[in-house]
């Protein structure tokens, strides 16, 4: 039997000018999550339980765009989504439009294990969360000052643009960016920000 293996990510599309201390913070969080998963794998915890355990840790830390620290929508609030899949039997669970569930990945797991469905969204997902008794919090628990600032920048530029980590200075210089000729779904590709 081959050995275990694990990988984690915190998002693609990084501001090339991200300050060094932010880069170090990110690496420390990734290392902490890897070690959490490695310890569980050494204790023979199953793959599906390890991925849920590690993503919960990532959701609870405000550094990356999930759970606490999620990017803000046009209304300045948080709408979260998640999914989980077990390769054994290809079982899966997904949720969207969550506003109060502290760890969306665990609700996705409950959709997989405790519901006859694969995907619940918005009010149905929130109702299921209460039925399952998962931990819920006020929406402002997920909102960080950093992201409030980034939303302000995006509003000023009136678009969905950019990775929300780009500091104001470089952002203003992007304000005059030339319309990209490349289109996706019929829209200029540059309105799609890396998540």
């Amino acid at each position: 039997m081959a050995g275990w293996a694990i990988a984690v990510h915190g998002g693609a599309g990084v501001d090339p000018n991200l300050p060094t201390e932010r880069q170090e913070q990110a690496k420390q969080l990734l290392t902490r999550c890897l070690n959490l998963g490695i310890e569980a794998l050494r204790s023979s915890v199953s793959a599906i339980d390890v991925v849920e355990l590690v993503v919960r840790e990532l959701e609870s830390d405000p550094l990356f765009n999930s759970g606490r620290g999620s990017a803000l929508n046009e209304n300045g609030t948080v709408e979260m989504e998640a999914s989980i899949m077990d390769g054994s039997g290809r079982r899966c669970g997904a949720v969207s439009g969550l506003t109060t569930v502290k760890n969306p990945i665990s609700l996705a797991r409950l959709v997989m294990d405790k519901s006859p469905h694969s995907y619940l969204a918005f009010s149905g997902a929130e109702k299921f969360a209460r039925q399952m008794g998962v931990e819920t919090v006020e929406n402002d628990y997920f909102i960080t000052q950093d992201n409030v600032e980034m939303l302000k920048l995006a509003k000023e530029a009136d678009s969905i643009v950019f990775d929300y980590r780009i500091p104001k200075a470089s952002y203003e210089s992007c304000g005059t960016q030339v319309e990209s000729p490349i289109k996706m779904n019929g829209l200029p590709i540059n309105i799609y920000a890396p998540e």
Partner: protein, 131 residues
């Protein structure tokens, strides 16, 4: 967006992805992360989690593609990841992490950087951001 993929000592794969989505997105917008086969996929061959421009990942059914080219083209894990990132994103920018039932780990991205970390039972461990 955050994600984790694991293959355990029994050779079972799993994947999980979670996100707040796009900054300044319209309310009700669904990205790739909750869509099985797009942002997240696992089968008996591999486990995959994606991140980046959600709309491009959805259109490319990116996560399932890794499993599909392993299954139908017989590619190895890193070959499959490289093929999918190169051939399935059109002009979109994205990244993904993956494991295989034989204990391999791989990642690929065409965006500017990706926050990622990986480790295997034989002691390999890497944490990185840039190429």
């Amino acid at each position: 967006t955050v994600g984790c993929v694991v293959v355990d000592s029994q050779g079972h794969c799993a994947a999980a992805t979670s996100t707040g989505g796009l900054l300044n997105k319209r309310t009700g917008r669904i990205g790739d992360s909750p869509l099985i086969g797009a942002g997240t996929y696992a089968c008996d061959l591999c486990g995959v989690s994606c991140t980046g421009e959600g709309e491009a990942i959805i259109r490319g059914t990116l996560a399932r593609e890794v499993g599909a080219v392993m299954e139908y083209k017989g590619l190895g894990l890193q070959e499959a990841v490289d093929f999918v990132i190169k051939e399935r994103l059109d002009e979109g920018k994205a990244g993904l992490i993956a494991v295989s039932k034989t204990g391999e780990v791989a990642y690929g991205f065409n965006s500017v950087g990706m926050f990622r970390g990986c480790a295997t039972e034989n002691g390999f461990m890497e944490v990185g951001i840039w190429d």
